[in-house]
Symmetry: C2
Subunit: 470 residues, 2 copies
Amino acid sequence: MEKFFDPKSVVVVGASNSPFNLGATICNMLKDYLQYPGAVYAVNSKGETVNGYPGYSSILDLPETPDLAVIIVAAKNVPGIISECAAKGIKRVIIESAGFSEGGHKGQAMQREIDDIARANGIRIMGPNCLGTLDTRKKFCCFYGVNPSLVEMGRIFEAPGNISYIIQSGGIVVLVIESFFYDLVGVNKVVSIGNKCDVDEADLIDYFQTDETEVIGMYLENVANGRKLMEAARKSRKPVLIYKVGRTQEGAMAAMSHTAGMANNDKIFESACKQSGIIRLQSIDELHSMPKMLTEMPLLKGRRIAMFTNSGAFGSISADLLVGADLEVVRLSPQTQEKLKKAGQVFNIKNPVDIGPAPPQTYLDIYEILLSADEVDGILPLLSVWQTFVIDTLLELMKMCKHYGKPAAIYTPNAIAKSIAIRAKHRIPIFETAEQAVRALSVSNYYYESLRKRNFIPVETGVEKEKSHA
Amino acid sequence: MEKFFDPKSVVVVGASNSPFNLGATICNMLKDYLQYPGAVYAVNSKGETVNGYPGYSSILDLPETPDLAVIIVAAKNVPGIISECAAKGIKRVIIESAGFSEGGHKGQAMQREIDDIARANGIRIMGPNCLGTLDTRKKFCCFYGVNPSLVEMGRIFEAPGNISYIIQSGGIVVLVIESFFYDLVGVNKVVSIGNKCDVDEADLIDYFQTDETEVIGMYLENVANGRKLMEAARKSRKPVLIYKVGRTQEGAMAAMSHTAGMANNDKIFESACKQSGIIRLQSIDELHSMPKMLTEMPLLKGRRIAMFTNSGAFGSISADLLVGADLEVVRLSPQTQEKLKKAGQVFNIKNPVDIGPAPPQTYLDIYEILLSADEVDGILPLLSVWQTFVIDTLLELMKMCKHYGKPAAIYTPNAIAKSIAIRAKHRIPIFETAEQAVRALSVSNYYYESLRKRNFIPVETGVEKEKSHA
């Protein structure tokens, strides 16, 4: 699987110098944006060079057997090209072309032809109808259509992270990647699997156990082999987050016209997720917003939450939200309240703790008092950034969370553009709304419970992680 | 009420040159940011001038009776100052100081003293524990604490709009105002009413019937006079949107420590809202995100929605969301499908309509086909901005919506920072997520139905508005 992400040599079948050629956009990306160090070849009818990469009129003429073939030609030509791949001994193929099982009977017949050749020759296939792979560490990406408006995409390669995605749709890939432009939490790998005629989400969950991935995010329009997916998820030592369409009949119908395959009964899927420890996401945004809670914070090991705010209204709002999420607005013990009283100008020493204008030390003291309290499992800081020192105290808070093995879901009640600006500059997992922060606490605790149910000891998260690195 | 927003003369009681003086921040805002044309006076113990505004040691010494007194001194001094206001003949007072009914028995006693003086002298009071008023057209604002980090606030005065807010908490005021920095849809007036000992949300709903307001947004922590609020809302010819905390016992408790007053039984409130046509918001964000659907688009007069996307996945996602919102994924008629077939490279002529790369005219044709279809009440364009011309077609779409009297809830599936950037530059009501766009359709239809129930003819929205302006 590794070489799907880091091929020493790759051929782009269908890359040419014709106007609007999609294969050429892949060559341009590899050469101009990524300076990909591996060998790249182009195959097109004229055998012409594409952006400096040597061109051939047939795969059979290539000077070596590449690790990977990326195919982006009209669907009807794909079966022939797969035969050539087989003849050349190529073992990994990404078919980006559309028009197969999502395109009626003729497409389905071609799909079967491809499956037969692949099976007979031990070829693994990604797609069809996909974008293929992206690896931020190896600086490889075979997505087509990356035009000037996406040049920004280069940004996510600058700060590789530990979140990997398996996404069944190109549009969602672009949205998720763009979201990380404004974030210091980063991406490891992205796979767009399209119709997933061979390599599927379960194969990739297995693979992501072996690399730098810490969290696996998925967008699925259908599940072909539910048992295989659930088994892979159940064994996964890394959190698996899934957004799946087709919750309704209408959504399932729409999905069918898009990437083929029946979307499945949603209730069955829901209960299977619970058994396998899969975190089911409630919106596409959560593909971007939730992983940071799992990579940057210890897990929430109980449901008792203390709120801390310098802007009273957000405490009331969040109390409603915590109760709605089945979390507990903890009653602080008399000892904790006594300590808070001494910490500075605290308007309310009960939960939500509410402070007026205060120096940085007061913030730090309150973090410490709350995190060290036995009755508190996690905290919800709702802190307006009136003064920039608040941001500095949040960096300290992250260390304290690791020390105490308890998470904080941080919300800075600012207009969203301002929150994004803070997050782009500081490595703080800031949520965009109070709803998102509360949801993150909920997700964290759900995942912790799923580990316990599966008899896994949470070794690689939060305080345990800090210790194991020490 | 008008002179609370546009006083010809105002005295800021408590403004001085002491360090960290809050009254001075009001004087600075009026002078430096707003160049407020009215007369401004300062009252402080030394009688000193504040930022060029003449100072006096007592209200009684002022050279005229100002239209408005803004009081920001320690709570214990407030009753005495109210007496002086009465003696001077001042009829409008904003008490920004905290420490009254939210501050225990002593505060409550002072509150009663103030109420008595005010009643005896025909003085109307806003607050206490509030920020007072802001008027973008008259360039008046008496919010305290506007420091350099809020200088940006000046921006919302540059493009006055038609949305007015009544907000019971300073923190929420700042959040909502900041959100409009990145939006060409604009604000008319903002009132922070705090403990609302006299002027309350119902008075302001009545007042906003008489000015440029088109939509009224509210954040409430408690309702003192439910009957009065519901009656004002029921009579309102302008949509009233309310976010109220205290949905849960915990939220209500937290609110009590913040702005005093019992938050009320939520189920009763919910059903009263339905009867009065109040649109109940589900998150603080909706205070900013929903009004544009009501100011910029015709109302949704039925529940049958057509989706149009150039990025397949979002059609499937939104189909789920529409069903979840009790809207209908309409079956397009054979005639409509026939027209779509001729419009260009359409992958799917059924709902969701899904297109591949296409020129601007194809977008325009599809908007027209869908909006003119009898079976369609409104549309949900889910359009990735691959090319910038998509934005231009959206400007055309807005005209078409007005022509056909049907709304479009526009979502451009981009990272949120990019969506905000588009919205800041173009006067298009773009939503930040598919969830938000679907919710906007739902809100629009809810409001339309509430007008019908109240036997109001929706005269001032959408196509009717265009006609009446023609």
